[in-house]
């Protein structure tokens, strides 16, 4: 592979599904509009797959998320590795039961006799102008559910690598895609490149403050770190990649070194994932901390439609740098 090859986020997803299906005949894909007869998916993430693997393994479903998720759960306990596409994250609200009461619990409730190697893909994110019902970041809900994992990638290559790992994983995984990132280009990974679940990535080392984030904000934080370096502030940027269970070791090692942490996510701040990460850091590193851990998230509001409100709703680089400068004293 030449490192100058570029692929988009959507292509990365498509490649991961293609490779997974090629490698393992037990991998199946379900979702609305996903087969080629229906155009290969609203975001083209599944384009070409039904042509290549057949409409037995790549199935366009009715608009019936409980049916999709249930079919995936059933097929999973019978030995398949389904990838269920729930178009938008907010639509998980119509099939939470299957995911939370069943997929996540069946291994435990059966005493290990069945398990659910299921991957659920969905997209979301504010910034497109979809308004209140298509933009929420709900990862905190699923992080609070024992028995499942939550994953979010910050670039095409890792998206592919994480999705492959999620599909191979024997537990249910929610794989969150960001609608603003589908066309984002990034370095193409080598075929078969994988990113292990549960491992964060230190994207940039720094000695002053650890910025812990995942998904879309990662790129912004990379850029911000670069800018702050110019001002003499050395930011360590950590991309969690797996949001739950998160890589406590990497996070705690980093903050033990820097003594300061800022957590950044798009979900609203109150009762978001940042609260858990912040609490863990305080609990474990209380006396090492030079300042309280800061959290930056979106505002306490449904996602607004009007473009200026939608922008104001979102976390901003400004808020992060302000927080960093505040705790740098």
């Amino acid at each position: 592979m030449s490192t100058t090859d570029k692929i988009s986020f959507a292509q990365a997803i498509n490649q991961a599904l293609d490779e997974a299906m090629g490698a393992d005949p037990k991998v199946m894909v379900f979702g609305e509009d996903i087969a080629d007869e229906q155009g290969g998916g609203v975001f083209k993430a599944t384009k070409g797959l039904s042509g290549k693997y057949g409409t037995g393994r790549v199935r366009t479903t009715p608009i019936a998320e409980q049916a999709i998720m249930g079919a995936a759960v059933g097929a999973a306990i019978a030995g398949y590795r389904p990838v269920a596409e729930i178009m938008f994250m907010n639509f998980l609200t119509v099939c939470m039961d299957q995911l939370v009461n069943h997929a996540a619990k069946l291994r435990f409730m059966s005493g290990g006799k069945t398990w659910v190697p299921l991957t659920v893909r969905c997209t979301t994110g504010a910034g497109v102008g979809f308004g209140g019902q298509h933009s929420d970041m709900l990862e905190a809900w699923f992080a609070h559910v024992p028995g499942m994992k939550v994953v979010s990638a910050s670039n095409p290559a890792e998206a592919k690598g994480l999705l492959l790992s999620a599909i191979e994983d024997d537990d249910p995984t929610l794989f969150i895609e960001d609608i603003m990132m589908y066309s984002q280009q990034g370095e193409a990974p080598a075929p078969g490149f994988k990113v292990p679940l549960g491992k964060a990535r230190v994207r940039r080392e720094g000695s002053d403050v650890s910025v812990i984030t995942y998904g879309r904000p990662v790129r912004l934080m990379d850029e911000m770190a670069e800018r702050l370096a110019g001002e003499g502030i050395n930011v360590e940027v950590i991309d969690l990649r797996t949001i739950a269970p998160f890589d406590e070791e990497t996070v705690l090692n980093s903050v033990a070194k820097t003594g300061r942490a800022v957590i950044v996510h798009e979900a609203i701040k109150s009762f978001g994932t940042g609260a858990e990460i912040s609490s863990r850091i305080h609990e474990e590193l209380f006396s090492d901390l030079k300042a309280p851990v800061q959290r930056i998230g979106s505002k306490y509001s449904p996602v607004p439609f009007s473009p200026p409100l939608e922008q104001a709703f979102l976390y901003s680089e400004d808020e992060v740098t302000t927080a960093i400068k505040r705790i740098m004293g």
Binding site: P62, I63, H134, K299, S301, P302, F305, S306, L309, A312
Partner: protein, 331 residues
């Protein structure tokens, strides 16, 4: 279509003209949105309603202004036919503080209680259970209102549809389930997602009155709507209307719809309800001048609405803390 009118089911000229007026108000609004999107003057996710104008206009003409409507993302035809002021609608679509919802809801979430537009939802099927609640309020208060909830053919496959029809039937609610069967759910053709031969085949499972009509025929559609409204208003319970129509454009503005067979598109174009309606009026002796005057009035309203929307302000950022809860959120 107009040719084989059943005399017994005919409707009076004034009503027909009113349906036409509403159809054109929808048609021109939709057209203007698409023009402005095409020219880049507007940027938003837009769900065209081309081909479904007459259906909505006929249904809404059978309602009073204070009857309730619940609709979806593809709801501009319903909202406009129900009578929502165009300037408020346009301002909302452009995210302005003068919009129906101060710009906070946007196209997918139009609410305008003054014209009975109570909920517009982006979640397929979600409107049906809510419509029951509105109808229940009317049943309980005796205010005589009827609730109409619009949804697509694809929506009939989701759980909320089932739960809502069952409850409405059990409780004899004054609600009308208006299925706008436009033969596609996003990119998925009817029979790929729907196991019922016809949507109305699901009605006996709820012991519910149901009727299937050509939604593009204003007379057939209006009569079915009127009958359902009368039943609901008389306390005789809900009706499922399967109104056959066709989505003449892609799912969203600009979206690929190459998955639609060419012949289907050709056939639909040949049966475009708007020119047919125009012809029907002429056949019925409505003067070309009267039609032109109707259209001109709409054009003027539309021009003013667009101008108003573009000239309006965006909401102030404090709006992020208002309407979240009743009490303003602290800054």
């Amino acid at each position: 279509m107009a040719q084989q009118l059943d005399q017994a089911n005919d409707i009076d000229g004034a009503t027909l003209v009113e349906i036409f007026r509403r159809s054109m108000r929808v048609y021109k609004t939709d057209e203007r949105f698409r023009q402005m999107l095409m020219s880049g003057k507007l940027r938003l996710v837009y769900y065209p309603v081309r081909g479904q104008e007459v259906l909505s206009a006929s249904m809404m003409s059978a309602l009073n202004i204070d009857d309730y409507l619940v609709t979806t993302y593809r709801g501009v035809h319903d909202q406009v036919a129900k009578g929502i002021p165009l300037k408020d609608l346009w301002a909302e679509f452009t995210g302005k503080v003068t919009g129906t919802c101060k710009g906070k809801g946007g196209p997918m979430h139009i609410t305008d209680p003054d014209t009975g537009v109570m909920v517009t939802t982006g979640i397929v099927g979600a409107g049906l259970p809510i419509a029951n609640g509105l109808a229940l309020a009317s049943q309980q208060s005796g205010d005589g209102r009827v609730t109409v909830v619009s949804f697509g053919d694809g929506a009939t496959n989701i759980g909320a549809f089932h739960e809502a029809l069952n409850l409405a039937s059990l409780w004899k609610l004054p609600v009308i389930f208006l299925c706008q069967n436009n033969r596609y759910a996003e990119h998925t053709a009817y029979s790929v997602g729907t196991s019922a031969k016809r949507i109305i085949d699901r009605a006996p499972g709820y012991s519910m009155e149901a009727v299937r009509v050509d939604g593009n025929n204003p007379i057939e559609m209006y009569n079915a709507a009127k009958a359902a409204v009368d039943r609901a208003r008389a306390g005789e319970g809900p009706t499922l209307i399967e109104a056959m129509t066709y989505r003449m454009l892609g799912h969203t503005f600009g979206a690929d719809f190459s998955y639609v067979p060419k012949e289907l598109q050709e056939e639909a174009k040949a049966n475009d309800p708007i020119p047919a309606f125009h012809q029907l009026l002429l056949d019925r002796g409505v003067a070309a001048e009267e039609i032109a005057a109707i259209e001109a009035a709409i054009d003027a309203e539309l021009d003013a609405a667009v101008e108003h929307a573009l000239a309006s302000e965006y909401p102030g950022l404090e709006e992020l803390r208002i309407d979240v809860l009743k009490e303003e959120i602290r800054a």
